[in-house]
């Protein structure tokens, strides 16, 4: 069970307070109509799903009601950082 540092509440909080928001940093295409079905499907359904470093969104549902991003290792579940939406992670790559 994860313990997640909320970058708004500035505290570690229990996983039960959060909901998972999926892969982060996926921008909605500006002109969906110009995309092929395949390109649109890529946006809709295809995710990195890495074994290792993953940048993902979390929603502090029963706390501050803010979305934020986390860098988490999907094997160890270690959360390496949390950061604001619209900013870039400090930790990148694929392995911890």
């Amino acid at each position: 069970m994860l313990l997640i540092y909320c970058p708004n509440c500035l505290e570690h909080r229990e996983e039960e307070e959060f909901s998972y928001g999926g892969e982060a940093h996926i921008a909605r295409p500006l002109n969906p109509e110009t995309l092929s079905d395949t390109q649109w499907a890529d946006y809709l359904f295809f995710r990195k799903n890495p074994r290792g470093i993953h940048h993902e969104m979390w929603y502090h549902a029963t706390g501050c009601r803010r979305y934020f991003n986390a860098t988490r290792n999907t094997v160890t579940y270690e959360i390496l950082e949390t950061y604001q939406v619209g900013t870039q992670p400090q930790i990148t790559g694929t392995d911890a």
């Binding site: 069970m1 909605r28 395949t38 359904f45 799903n49 074994r51 999907t74 579940y77």
Partner: protein
Amino acid sequence: MKRYSGFSLLKNALSYHENWQKVWRNPTPKRDYDVVIVGGGGHGLATAYYLAKVHGITNVAVVEKGYLGGGNTARNTTIIRSNYLWDEAAQLYELSLKLWEGLSQDLNYNVMFSQRGVLNLGHNLQDMRDIERRVSANRLNGIDGEVVTPQRIKEIAPLINISPDSRYPILGASWQPRGGTARHDAVAWGYARAADALGAEMIQQTEVTGIRRKDGAVVGVETSNGFIGARKVACVTAGNSGVVAAMAGLRLPVESRPLQALVSEPIKPCLDTVVMSNAVHGYISQSDKGDLVIGAGVDSYNGYGQRGSFHVVEHTVQAICELFPAFSRVSMNRQWGGIVDTCPDACPIISKTSVDGLYFNCGWGTGGFKATPGSGYVFADTVANDRPHPLAEAFNLDRFNTGALIDEHGAAGVAH
């Protein structure tokens, strides 16, 4: 292959069990094969078996990074049923169920397929509409099933709580008598033994680290024990499909999630059927050893950790205690997690890919074990003939482009 029977058991007992044949060889890999199957779980082993048995393709290696049947085959709650809603899924699972019904004899290995029936409970009016819809579709598809009342449920599972005063009272259920459970390890071992007997080779403790291609076609796999050539490579690596796909430069619409399960200590038999509830979220059966085998939820986040959050276990156990208040004083003996590939439409992918000779079978989510024989059967056919088996057609990768998803229930939460 020396056949197993009561007689062979007796004969071997007289010689102190010193003369049993090996269930399978443990050969060193050859330089190349007609087909390399990546992943030695139930689905991969079944694929090897049907490639040999149905299609006469015996120059096959099953390459497994750990031990045979050690992934989700060893970690699931062994429930088998075919009462799926949509025609495409129902037909695939029904093929599976029919294969299950003769599997022990076919493999000459008792997989202990026990047709003790499956109840899917309904707890609100919409549940009951959905149950009626599903059972109605099942009947017209030739799949057994009926809608049963709480009183009938109580007869089938006497310890269940059908009080109308429950927080979410049981209003009814679908009942598939042909459903049941099987002994999960035996399925992997039985397929491996039978496939081995037909010539397929089991290569354990060998991890595939790359998929070698030439001119857009697959030529083999890189492994922790060196390169193995192959004209065709069939990947069946539940939980790690995305990672394997990436080796061939492919992306799959799957995400890997921890799915949890737990068992109680053995108790005297008191539950002779499988009970599943989506609304209060738990499913339970009792094994032939006496353990209550309980399926817990899927964690909400991606993970490869084969473990999960304790609060998921808590919610599941609450659900079980709601359904079976008497089990409150029974104890949890062990809990664990598996990694499931989840697809946006909660249906599998059984598909050719853009790489010639490379095939994928993945995305079974929580439904993989029950599909083992059917999955192997249609995948073997797809690989052997380089075109989708008719029952696999709907489960192609292109459906994510066209939008022809099979069950968009599961798609409700995607898109961003």
